[in-house]
């Protein structure tokens, strides 16, 4: 698989990028997206009317890719579909490192013309061994070098999570939603119709990529099925791989056909394949984010027993149901723990069997921390879960100024000294804006938070299953 690194290196880490066919109508989104690119940027546009706009961006324009007096590592193509074969041919002549076709209107339209054009570019690229990404995609995002595929994406510090997506929206949403949740992308690629390079190739590339510690995939269909199976089986042994499969229903399959011209695949076979390879199955962007967050920011959760700490009685009941429904265990604690609780815990309006309801003990940060310290030290408990409700913390802040800040400081210290996985549940209720601010602070402190008991429970369950599979 070392070869794949060599094969795709220029495309993923380009030093020069050419954009073919960017225009005012698109807000020059591709050229503007390269504003922070660490390398040389060229434009190729034959429409004279577009030239002032391109020059205003400080980008040099050429009338043909072949006129650029420099090597071109990566090409972004946004021309109408009829011009695609000519541009692909120019890319072959120019010996570029890779070309991404934003251009759509191919087999996914199920029209004679679309299928014909897709056939032409596929054959040309295969024959010349051209790294063609797409068509019908947004290509590569490499934040470290400022190569972006949406204007609102970050650049600068890259992260450690790779993302491979058949959809451009899911690729960009992953980067954006991930960022506010403390998940940053190492490299991602959106690859559309996958006529030449398929998910298996990108998976192998990110499998070898040293910056990438975790890989997520959004897949509508595979073309190189056997290669995908054997690569996934090998890579999932070394790095967590999450698979989110689009088109799991008959109705969804109809959508994948017109989105990326993917064929129907049996969800039963996909489930078996994911399990067999030790990958993690996720069903949505939210779940992808949740599981990666738990993998990145909680210590490896290998056991199914949780110690649950809720802020009120009602929440202590539903947090327990949520975790138990996922098949996680909520055991009673050891006598030693109960004896310790008895020394300080105010039981009027509260309780500490497991789950804990700490409503009457909320006014002292020390007592909150004492509760989760006891859970950490209890041998019956594998993972500690704490509910943080901005509704109650905000109410109490009138009484105890800085309660939230001092609690976060104490939780940061707790996380550092505890040897058990720790997650928090940050429920917005109606205090949505306060919760967003609180999440930002938790992200800064590397404390994983989930917006509902159910999402936290599901993520933890997936992570426990993953580590169990790894350790068997």
């Amino acid at each position: 698989m070392k070869d794949i690194t060599e094969k795709l290196d220029r495309a993923f880490n380009p030093r020069s990028v050419a954009v073919v066919g960017d225009k005012m109508e698109m807000g020059y989104m591709w050229l503007r997206g390269l504003a922070n690119f660490h390398g040389r940027v060229y434009s190729v546009q034959i429409d004279e009317n577009e030239l002032p706009g391109i020059e205003a961006l400080g980008v040099k324009n050429y009338f043909s890719l072949l006129d650029i007096p420099d090597d071109v590592d990566y090409v972004i193509v946004a021309v109408p579909r009829g011009a695609a074969p000519k541009i692909v041919n120019d890319c072959i002549q120019k010996r570029v490192g890779g070309v991404m076709l934003f251009t759509s209107g191919f087999a996914e339209t199920n029209t004679e013309e679309g299928i014909r054009l897709q056939g032409i570019i596929t054959e040309m690229a295969r024959e010349a061994d051209l790294n063609l990404i797409g068509p019908n995609c947004v290509g590569i995002f490499n934040p470290k070098i400022g190569l972006r595929n949406a204007l609102d994406q970050y650049s600068g510090d890259g992260g450690n999570v790779g993302f491979i997506s058949q959809s451009g929206t899911h690729a960009t949403f992953f980067s954006l939603v991930g960022e506010v949740n403390g998940i940053r992308v190492s490299k991602s690629v959106s690859y559309g119709n996958a006529v030449v390079l398929d998910s298996a190739d990108y998976l192998e590339y990110l499998g070898e990529d040293e910056d990438t510690k975790i890989i997520g995939l959004y897949i509508e269909g595979v073309k190189k099925g056997r290669q995908f199976f054997s690569s996934l089986r090998e890579i999932a042994k070394r790095k967590p791989v999450l698979i989110w499969k689009g088109g799991e229903t008959a109705e969804g399959t109809r959508a994948t056909a017109s989105h990326t011209a993917s064929l129907a695949e049996s969800p039963l076979i996909w489930d078996a394949l994911i399990r067999q390879c030790g990958a993690i199955k996720v069903d949505s962007l939210d779940e992808t984010i949740d599981v990666i967050k738990a993998l990145l920011y909680a210590k490896p959760a290998t056991g199914a027993r949780v110690g649950l700490c809720a802020m009120t009685g009602g929440q202590s009941v539903v947090i327990t149901d949520a975790f138990a429904k996922e098949g996680l265990e909520v055991p009673l604690l050891t006598d030693r723990s109960y004896r310790e609780f008895a020394t300080f815990f105010n039981t009027i309006g509260s309780s500490y069997r497991n789950p804990l309801d700490i409503s009457s003990n909320l006014r002292s940060t020390d007592n909150i921390i004492r509760c989760i310290d006891i859970l950490s030290e209890d041998e019956m408990i594998d993972t500690v879960v704490l509910e943080l409700s901005m509704v109650f913390l905000t109410r109490l802040s009138w009484l105890i100024p800085n309660l939230f800040d001092s609690l976060i400081d104490a939780l940061t210290l707790y996380k550092a000294r505890s040897n058990k996985p720790f997650i928090t549940i940050l429920i917005p209720a109606h205090a949505e804006s306060e919760t967003i601010e609180a999440r930002k602070i938790l992200v800064q402190r590397d404390i994983p938070s989930f917006p509902s008991f159910e999402r936290g429970a599901k993520a933890l369950k997936k992570v426990v299953e993953y580590y169990r599979h790894q350790n068997l």
């Binding site: 269909g221 073309k223 099925g225 039963l268 076979i269 078996a272 067999q276």
Partner: protein
Amino acid sequence: MVIDKIIGTAKKEGRPYLTELESKQILKEAGINTTEVKLARTKEEAISLSKEIGFPVVLKIVSPDVLHKSDAGGVKLSLKNEKDVGKAFDEIISSIKKHEPTANIQGVSVQHMARPGTEVIIGMSKDPQFGPVLMFGLGGILVEVLKDVSFRIVPLTRRDAREMIREIKGYPILEGYRGQDPANIEVLEETLLKVSDFVENRPEIKELDINPIFAYRDGALAVDARVILEP
């Protein structure tokens, strides 16, 4: 090899379906424990083969044209003596002639009636994207109505075999539920691995169905099998 010969013959005759006899010979070559089957072309042959194999026996029609043997009256179970066998032979032939008048009848197969065990099935079919896929489940109504089956893509590791057996909801039945005899799980795992090995090396096989396998405390026995070749 026997397998090449069987496949070669079927191809030459332009038929994708192998008979039970051929399918079981193939399984035997693959190292899978199956009931010994012999072909009888006449009633007399059926009787003498039955004596040789030992009663009770089962007679089944052997014809590449009859796919649903039971429905066409082509299967007779629990035949305890020569008289039963003779009568069953005649009944099978006349029933097939009535149900499938154009069927090419090669004869009737004779096999020992296996002692009952927990019925399981192992199947192989090809997924257009991922190639050969194995299926495991409990036989009879559990597979047909409840679809209580598990899948793995070939090639299987031992772990895959172990997990796909334990994954089905009916697994406690194999462990011996309420005093029922438990099945030898290890032998079932071995059987899955042998099927995986075999189909991996035989791309000319399109589908394979071993239904049922009788799972016993001390082993497993493939009682019926069907192989379909690639066109």
